[in-house]
Amino acid sequence: MSDAESPDDDFEPVQVFGDETDMDLRPGSDDCYKCSTCDTNCPVAEVDDEFPGPKFQGPEQWRLKRKEDHDIDDSVMKCSNCMRCDDACPSNVPLSQMHNTARGEYVDEQMDKLSVEYLRNRMLSNYRFFANLGSKVPRLTNFVLGLGVSSWLGEKVMGISSERDMPEFATQTFREWWDERGGAQVENPDKRVAYFHGCYSNYNTPEVGKAMVRVFEEFGYEVMVPPQRCSGTPMFANGMLDDARRAAETNVEEFVAAIGEGADVIASCTSCSMSLRQEYPELFDLHGIDDLAANTYESVEYLRIHEDLEGELEDTEVDFPDVAYHAPCHARNQGLAGQAVEVTESIDGVDAHDVGDSCSGISGTYGWKEENYDTSMKIGEEMFEHMEAADADTGMTECPTCAMQMEHGTGYEIKHPLELLETALVEA
């Protein structure tokens, strides 16, 4: 800098900006030094030549938008919200925040609200609403969804891939079970956790929720199960930010109250914990939202931090199948990719084989869409190969939709790490 010799003591470079009060992602754009590390990590860009990649979707698109004459590029809907770009970026550029914001704007301002695509996305992202209806008559729902005609109609009319089997509804939801057992069996004002079970553990895999409750009670925790709505993950991915905000309002209010009663918040689904931790404070400005983000944990992570989990497991022996473990992208982004395998190492009688760092490809609602099905299976190919090669015929993962994809691609039964902990600590 030629003028560097005579700095004016009163001048600060930041003075060239006005006093912006709106949330502005400019600092994120400015931090991007175009190394393209995010692009080499994007599972969609790797297999889809139509997708320009996260560097364009985030910082570059943000710059283009500074001029009023640029719309959001419709390719933003092809981003699966796996958030690997966040984890990759050496400069902490808030890529997924930029993508979520752009997608929200695209849906709000450019998407036809009467189109089948919009309705379908809205339906997929509000899975809980339909799950709630379906779970009232689970056997009938499972029967109807299992009919060939239903999936044919789903694809023809709604664009939901007929290749996929609809998830089965449990005959008793987790919350019904919770009420039936009379709620918490352990009372302890000093050790409380509030369980964010999310939709899937409630409606589809209550055994995961039950395992969480039993394992935490084994460690002497009082479990609370506050009223709650969807974490918002499928809504972010579909740009339905208004729906997500409404759900977040309920969740923040209920769980901040639980935190006030001394509880930490526990999620068993890594996309739920990701959402509460990262996307909530990035996208919404609600009272208490930062407290919720700071006090939310993934279930196994919490026990590792606050209990001597590996010590407790040291002398346990289980009758449990060996598992091919896949770390969901949203676990990876929280720094939890290695923990399930590490914890399993302490237990005798079971081996966990990590199937590597590829993405499963389903990314929640993404792989359910008829137009994404092939891409989704292409992304998942590496994981399927590694699962087949691993010395195990059962899968393990924390994420419900990764589990669907793993089962879909290999036919394996898929377990949650909490189920293994329950076997080792509660049933043994």
Binding site: S36, T37, C42, P90, N295, E310, E342
Partner: protein, 446 residues
Amino acid sequence: MAIRDDVLVVGGGLAGIAAALAASDHADVRLLSHKQSTLRNASGLIDVLGYPPDAGDEAEPIVDPFDAFGDVPDGHPYERVGSEAVREGLALFDDAVGDAYRGGHTDRNALVPTHGGTVKPTARYPKSAAAGLASDGRDALLVGFASLTDFDAPLAADHLAAAGVPFETRGVTIPFPGDFRDDAKVTRYAHALDRNESLNGTPARTALAEAVEPHLDGEARVGFPAVLGDDDPAGVRASLADTLGADVFEVPMGPPSLPGLRLEDRLYDALDEAGVRVTTGNPAVDVETVDDRIRAVVVNRTGQPVPYHADQVVLATGGLVGKGIDSDRESVREPVFDCHVPHPEDRYDWFEGDAFGDHPFARFGVDVDRDLRPLAADGSIEYENLRAAGSVLGGYDFAAEKSGSGVSLATGYAAGDAAGRAAASGATSDPAAGGTDGATIHGDTQ
């Protein structure tokens, strides 16, 4: 309070990996890394010492780094650890990468052409670059792709000729076969060649060789930008060489670099085989201490401090690019342990006016003793059980002297080996329970 290991390495680049591998011979090791390492931004070449430190613009490249270590200035990382650590670090590297690298047959530097057409003195190079050495007398054709603007083959060839290489070289630019986006990612080309994808009906490897063939004029070797495969680079080169009837080599490129990505994969596989636990995704931000020892490194997990306990700690967070050294308008800092970083008081003494001048900031970093323990401003040891390795160290300008990888391997090996031995000898052990005088942790239920 249960996450604990004998040795904790903070940083997932070359120095951190070397430290973790060396320590794993003696103790249980965990490697913590915030983001993906800068290996993927690097050429994939392993430089030990290409030019004498502080020699200025006119310096001649070094023929044998081991003859030059005696001349490095006091405080330079090589002076701190000695040449034996360089040998051990290189041996550890050779062991980890197996047959993917060349150059271990001699102490002397190899001369590898770069994508700018310069010639770089380096100690180890990927097998994919082996047929491209500048000391090889065979004529070479360089091939660039119109959509990969980082490599201008005719310009690189002219540069090489101007540098006086002992062979004839030409460059041509061709379109990459198939209908890729103009801004297709380097990984896109690599994967198409890996999988031998059909490009308009022709397998990718065949299509590429056929596109090059008309330009070949009897040259014995053909150089491409380093995008020839990610999982199966050897297979891709062999297919191309077969069709072309010439040796095929890669020219190392800037970021994102396939040779760097491949090296990263290989080194992380080696960590896995050594039983090192790897935890990525969250930054180390703070430290809990007891007396003059580190008890735990505190990782910031979206606002929540999570302690990782260890008996011995290695700091390998990188330099200015890797963000192991940070600065603002007032000062230069090492942000995790707040180790002292010597630097002039006045910000205007941190750099030279000339863009390519001899900038003091290039040498900023942590000052260490001969056991690689960071030193405070008064010369005392910062923490008894902390050692530092790699570009977080000060006292050398790796870009000017071409010593980045060598320093990372030598100091990584030395720090990891010492940490592993110290942990194994059980000099101390901290009962995990007890008071913390570092961060207090919400919900701590001891």
